[in-house]
Amino acid sequence: MALKVTIDGREVDAERGELVIAVAERAGVYIPRFCYHPRMRSVGMCRMCIVNVDGGRGPALTAACIAEVSDGMRVDTRAPEVKKVQDGVLEFLLINHPLDCPVCDKGGECPLQDQTLRFGPGESRFVEEKRHFEKPIAISGLVLLDRERCILCDRCTRFSKEVAGDPLIHFVDRGNATQVNTFPDHPFASYFSGNVVQLCPVGALTAVTYRFAARPWDIERVESTCTSCSVGCRVAVESTTNHITRYQGLDSEPVNQGWLCDRGRFDFGWIDSEDRLTTPLLREGGELVEATWGEALETAARQLSDVVATHGPEAVGVIGGARLTNEDCYAWAKLAKSVLRTDNVDAQLGDGLPPEVVLGLPAATIAEACAASAVVLLGPDLKEELPVLFLRLRAAIGRGVPVVELTPSPTSLSPLVATSLVHRPGEAAALAAALVAPGDPTGEIAGVPPAAVAAARAALAGHDDRVVVVLGRPSLAESPDGTVAAAGALRSGLPGATFLPVLRRGNVRGALDLGLAPGLLPGRVTLDAGREWFAHHWGSVPEDRGLDTAAMLAAASEGRLHALVLLGADPLADFPDRQLARRALTSVGQLIAVDTFITESTRHATVVLPAAGYAEKEGTTTNLEGRVSRLGRKVVASGTSRADWIIAVELADRMGADLGFERPEDVWDEIERIAPAHAGATRALLEAPGRVDGVLVPATGDPAAGAATLAEVVARDPSAAAAPASVPDGSQGGVGVRVRGVLAPVAPASADGGDAPASDAPPEDAPASDAPPDTPARPPVLTWAAPASVQEPPPRDAYSLRLVSGRDLYDPLVVSVSRTPHLAGLARPAALGVNPFELERLGVDDGGTVLLTSARGAVAVTAVADPAVPRGTARLGFNLASPGAAELIDAAAAVTDVRLERP
C-alpha cells in the first residue's frame, strides 16, 4: 500500500514496512548513520540517525533506521534539536576514538571522518585520557582489528553471525570497556571475513593486504567482475601506480548484493607475481628458452598447420577457456572451429556437466532460486566452490524457502536445509526419480530411508511450477552420467521446474555459450543446427562432433591426437584422472600452452605463449546464470603478455586467415550479431551507465534480467539507439528490432519469456529488412533432450568404500591461490573423512594415516573420523597439497571404489 510521508516539508511516496532512513535517502535527504546497512537487519545502536519523527502524537526523537514509515508521518531531519543530538553522538563517538587519521588506512574514505565534518560539532570538550587497547591484533590471517578505532556499530559482528553464519567475532566486556574480539583460540576463520573490512565505518578492521598500501585519494578504480568462480560477483578493482591494491564488492541486486568471498577479494597477489610469464618460450633441446613473439607464433602456427595437413583437423585439440573473457573464447572458438576446423574443443576439464545439459535445461537465475517455492540442491558443496551463492541460498533458507538436498556426503548447507538426503555415491538418479514418482517409497532408496524421502517429497509437493533445481557436479569421483540422469528425472517429474547450473570455473559458462565445447557453436547452438549459419558467416565449420577433454586426453595418450592447445588449462593439476593426463601430455607431439605461469602442464609444452591476466585486459564474462558483465582493465599486462583473443588473431593470421578483429569491441559486436543467444545484448546495453547488474542473455523479458530495460536505456541515453543493433529473430521474444539500422524498442514478448529462450517450434526467418536474400536462417538455441538411459553404477563390494571428492575454496593447485601469498597458506591439509566405524574396524586412530587404494593408484592420507559421512562412503578433497583424489580416479569409470588399509 502506498503511503504519504513528509520529509523536511516535502511529501514522498513510500511503501508500508519501509524504514524512515531509506525513504529519506530515496527522497534525497541523507540521514547520517554508522550501524545501519541496507543489506542487514537494523539494530539502532549508534544513534547517529536520530531525527524528529511525528507519527501523529507529536514529534519525538527517533532512530530513523528502526522506525517504519506510517501514513501521514512527518519527519524533520534539520530541527535544532536533531542537530544537537547529532553533535552529541559524534562527540561521544570521538571521545575514545584515537583520531590517528593521518596513519589510518580508512582516512580519506571514512564514514566517521566524513560525517564528523558534515554533521559534527567541530571540536571536542573531552580532556581526559582516551581508552587504550593493544594496537591492531590479528583476528585472522587476513584481517587486523584495532579496537581503539572501533565505534561498536555491530556491522562486522552482525555480518558474521547473520549473513555469513560464522559467529566468530563478538562483543566482549561491557560499558565503556566493550570491545569486539574473538574468543581465545577461535580465530576469525571465515570464508567471508573480508566483507567486514569493507563494512567497517572506521579503520578498526583493516585487511592485511591493504595495510599502508595506498591512500584513497591516490587510488583509481574500475568496475569489473570477479572470475575466481562462476558466480560473477561485481567488484571494483582498485590500483595505484600500476599495482592492484584491493577489490571491493559492488552491490548487484541479482548477483552478490555487495558481498565477496575471501578468495575472490584477496586473489590479486598473483597478478604482480615475479613468477609470471613475461615472454614466449620455445622448446629447444629439451629446455624451454625465451623467444620473441614472432618466433613463437610462427612456430605454433606451423606446428598446428603441419598436424592438420598430416593427420587432419581431428588430430588437433583445444582444452580450456574458462579463464578467458567472452571475447577470448569467441576468438578461440572461431580459430579452432573455422580455421583449424577441429571440433575437439572443451573448456571443461572433466569436472563439469555435458554442455547440452548446462545450456539446454530451462534456466533459472540466482534470484529465482532464492525466491522459489522449493529448491532441489544437486551439486557440490557451494560454500567451497561458489561461496557467494552459498550466502544467497543461506539467506533464502532463512526466509523460509524449503531446500531439499541430494548429496553423497554432507555439505555446508546440510545443517541448514529442510531435508538433506545423503545417498550412496553415484546413485542420485534413483533418488531423484523417487522424489518425483507417484507414491511414497516403501523401501530404502540409494541408502536413504523411505521416511526421509517422504519428508523431502512433502517439502516439494504442490509447487511443481516454482521449483528450482540447483544442478552441478556433486563429486569428481563419479562420472557426470548419474547427475545427468537425476536431472532428467527431475525434469520429467517436475515439468515446470527450472535449473540453475552451478559449474565452478570463472568463465566456464561464457566459454560454453561461445562454443568452446564439442558439438557446439557460439550462441548456444549445436553444430548441426548452426552449421549453415556459421558456415555462411565464418566460411567453414567442422564436419563431425569432436571430443571432450577426457576423450582428447585418451586420444593423445593413444597417439591419435597430435597437437594440443592448453588455454589456461592445467590438466595435470586439474583433471580428475591425473594418470590419464600424465600419459596424454607426455605422448602428444605438439603442446602449445597459453598461460600466465609455468604450471605442471606447461612444463611439457613445445610452445608457451604468455597471456594477459585478470585486470590486465578488457572484455566481458558470463556468470553461471548466463549474465554477461564487463571486466575492467586496471594494470598493464605482465611483460609482453597479450590477451588471448589477440593470440588467436595472430595465430590465424599466420595460418592465412583473418578473424576480423582489431579491438575486443569488434569481437563483442560480432558475437552480438552472429551468436543466436546473444542477440540484443549490445555493447550499448552492457556499457550503459549504472548497469551494475550486467545483462542476462538471452533477453527473457524479465526486467530484473536487464535486457528488457533496453527501452529505458534508450530513453535515458539516446546514443544507445545509434549503436550497432541486433536482429533478434521473432521467436525469441526479442527486445528490439532493427529497421534499417534504427533500433525501435518494442514491448517484451511474453509468450516464452522466462523459459527456455527458443521454443521447440522452428525458427522463423530473420526479418529480411536489410539481410541479403541468401542469408541462412538464424539457428535456434539448443533445448534439453532427455539423456539416453544410464547404466546403474556397479555394486560395491563389502570391503570397499565409495569415494566422494570435491574441491576446497583454497585450492592449492590453482595459480590464483598458490601464487597469492596471503591465500597460499590457507589451504587445508589433506584428510580423508570416513565414518568412525571404518576406522574402528581397521584399528586406526582418529587422525592416523591410512593407505587408500583404487583400481588406478594408491595414496597414503590422514584419516579423520566424521560421523556425518555414511558408512561405506569416504570423502577426500580433490586438490590438496599432498597427493589427493586425482591419483585414484579413473575418468572412464562410473564411480571410484577404494580399499582402506593400514599403511
Binding site: V43, G44, M45, C46, R47, M48, I50, L61, A63, I66, A67, E68, E81, K84, V85, G88, V89, E91, F92, L93, I95, N96, S124, R125, F126, V127, E128, E129, K130, I151, L152, D154, H170, F171, D173, R174, G175, N176, A177, T178
Partner: protein, 452 residues
C-alpha cells in the same frame, strides 16, 4: 495523613514465620489454595479478576498487569511467561525478600498467571548475585514438583505447567525486560529497540511473551482468593492494593515495609516509629531518592507527598520499583551523585553510543572534580553531556514541587532508560547543590594535564 497499618498481602506469611519458605509452612498457611480456586475457573475469568483489581506492575513502569496480558496476540502459541527476578536497581531489595522468604507465593502467582494467559511454559529469571534466592526457589520448585503443584496434571486437574529456573550472570541491564529475554535465550544481555515490537508481540524466542515482576505476581494468590474488587478497594483512589518499599540509607530502621498503596507519605515512612523511626542520630534530612537510583531526587519539601505513582510523577520524579534512599545532612552530594553515575557507567551494556560513551564521560568528569581538578566550565559540561543522553529541559530534576512532571520513559537518545537513569542524579544534585560542586572546584589544586 497519619499512618494506619493495613493487613499485609505479599509479606503476610514471611512477616509471621521464619520458615515461610518451606512447603510445609506455606501449605499450612494457605499456599496453593488460590491456585486450586483459579483452576476451577476459566482462564478468562481469572484474567478478568486481575483486570478488575487494576494491579499495577511493581517493577517500575507501573503498567497494569491485566492490561498487559490482554496485549498478547490471540491464538498465537507458544507463548511464555517470564518472571523478572533480576532486581538490580540501586536501593531495591523487595523482590529479593519475596524470593528468599516466600518462594511458594511467587510460584503460585506465576502458575495463576500462566493459567490465565494460557502460557506454554514459565521461566523464572533470578539475578546472578542472589544466591540465597536461587537456592530457595530451586528447593521450593523441587518440593512443589514433588507435591504435584507444578508439573503434569497440577492438583489433579488436566492442566500441566513447567517452571524453569534461570540464574542470571550478573548484569543490571538485564532488569530491562527485552535485555532479560535476550539473556534468557542465550544471547548477550542487551536491550532491543522498542518500539516497534514489545515482548507481548515478539518476546522470548520471538514468540509472544509476558514479563512480570516478582512482587506483581506475588499479589495474584490474594487477588484470586479475595477477588479483584477487594484488591481494588485497598489503597488510594488511583493506586490499588498494597506496595512494598525498601528503604535504605540514613534512617534508624532501614528495611522493607508493606503499606497501603498511596496511603502513606514519605514523612510517615521515614519518621513513624512503626516504620523507619526517623533519620539516624536525629539529623536533618538533606535529600532522598523516591524510586531507586534512576529517579530524580526529592527533598524536604516533598516529604508530605503520598507514596503514589500518580502523585510522585507529576511532582518531578518517579516511584519506580519502590526503592527509597535517604541521605542526611552530612552527605557529600557530589560524591553521592558520582557513586550513582559510576554504577550506571559500569552497568551500561555498551550497545548504544550515548550511554556507553556519555555515562562513562560523566563518571570521569566527576572523578576529576573529586580529585581536585575541577574547572568552572565542568558544570555546564555535565549538564550538556546529560542533555546528549536525555535531551530537553530535564523536567524531573526535583528542584521544588511545581517542576514539570517527570515523563516515563524519559526523553532519551538511548535505546533503553539506563542512560537517562545516570543523568537523574547529575541533574538533581547539580541544580540543588551547585554550591557543593563550586566548593570542590574552588579547592582545585591544579588543572589536570590534558590528554585529548
Amino acid at each position: 495523613m497519619t499512618y494506619t497499618p493495613v493487613p499485609p498481602i505479599v509479606t503476610a506469611r514471611l512477616g509471621q514465620y521464619d520458615d515461610a519458605h518451606t512447603l510445609a509452612r506455606a501449605v499450612e498457611t494457605g499456599a496453593y489454595g488460590a491456585l486450586r480456586t483459579a483452576l476451577g475457573q476459566t482462564p478468562e475469568a481469572v484474567m478478568e479478576q486481575v483486570k478488575v483489581a487494576v494491579l499495577q506492575g511493581r517493577g517500575g513502569a507501573g503498567f497494569p498487569a491485566g492490561n498487559k496480558w490482554g496485549l498478547l496476540p490471540a491464538g498465537k502459541f507458544p507463548r511464555w511467561l517470564v518472571v523478572n527476578g533480576d532486581e538490580s536497581e540501586p536501593g531495591t531489595y523487595k523482590d529479593r525478600i519475596l524470593m528468599e522468604r516466600d518462594p511458594h507465593q511467587l510460584i503460585e502467582g506465576a502458575l495463576i498467571c500462566a493459567y490465565a494467559i494460557r502460557a506454554s511454559q514459565v521461566f523464572i529469571y533470578v539475578r546472578g548475585e542472589m544466591a540465597l534466592a536461587q537456592e530457595r526457589i530451586a528447593d521450593a520448585l523441587n518440593d512443589a514438583y514433588a507435591a504435584g503443584y507444578v508439573g503434569r496434571r497440577i492438583l489433579g486437574s488436566d492442566w500441566s505447567m513447567d517452571i524453569t529456573l534461570h540464574w542470571g550472570a550478573g548484569a543490571y541491564i538485564v532488569g530491562d525486560e527485552t535485555a532479560l529475554l535476550e539473556s534468557l535465550s542465550g544471547r548477550r544481555g542487551m536491550p532491543r529497540p522498542k518500539p516497534p515490537y514489545f515482548p507481548a508481540a515478539i518476546g522470548l524466542y520471538d514468540d509472544p511473551t509476558i514479563v512480570n515482576n516478582v512482587e506483581t505476581l506475588s499479589n495474584l494468590p490474594w487477588i484470586v482468593e479475595h477477588g479483584g474488587e477487594a484488591f481494588a478497594a485497598l489503597g488510594s483512589e488511583k493506586t490499588n492494593g498494597t506496595r512494598m518499599f525498601a528503604v535504605s540509607g540514613h534512617v534508624k530502621r532501614p528495611g522493607t515495609f508493606e503499606v497501603g498503596s498511596g496511603q502513606v507519605t514519605f514523612r510517615d515512612l521515614f519518621y513513624d516509629e512503626r516504620l523507619c523511626g526517623g533519620i539516624r542520630e536525629d539529623r536533618k534530612l538533606k535529600a532522598f531518592i523516591p524510586g531507586g537510583g534512576s529517579a530524580p531526587w526529592f527533598f524536604e519539601e516533598h516529604l508530605d507527598l503520598p507514596l503514589d505513582p500518580t502523585v510522585v510523577g507529576p511532582a518531578g520524579s518517579m516511584l519506580g520499583s519502590g526503592a527509597i534512599v535517604v541521605m542526611d545532612e552530612t552527605t557529600d552530594m557530589v560524591r553521592a551523585a558520582w557513586r550513582l553515575v559510576r554504577f550506571f557507567a559500569g552497568e551500561s551494556c555498551g550497545k548504544c553510543t550515548p550511554c556507553r560513551e556519555g555515562v562513562s564521560w560523566l563518571q570521569r568528569i566527576y572523578e576529576r572534580i573529586l580529585a581536585g581538578h575541577g574547572r568552572p566550565e565542568d558544570l555546564a559540561l555535565l549538564e550538556d553531556v546529560g542533555w546528549g543522553i536525555s535531551p530537553g529541559p530535564y523536567p524531573g530534576a526535583g528542584v521544588h514541587p511545581g517542576d514539570a512532571a517527570f515523563p516515563f520513559p524519559p526523553r532519551q537518545t538511548t535505546i533503553c532508560v539506563l542512560g537517562p537513569s545516570a543523568v537523574a542524579p547529575v541533574m538533581s544534585s547539580l541544580r540543588r547543590f551547585r554550591d557543593e560542586y563550586l566548593a570542590y572546584i574552588a579547592q582545585a589544586t591544579a588543572p589536570e594535564a590534558t590528554v585529548a
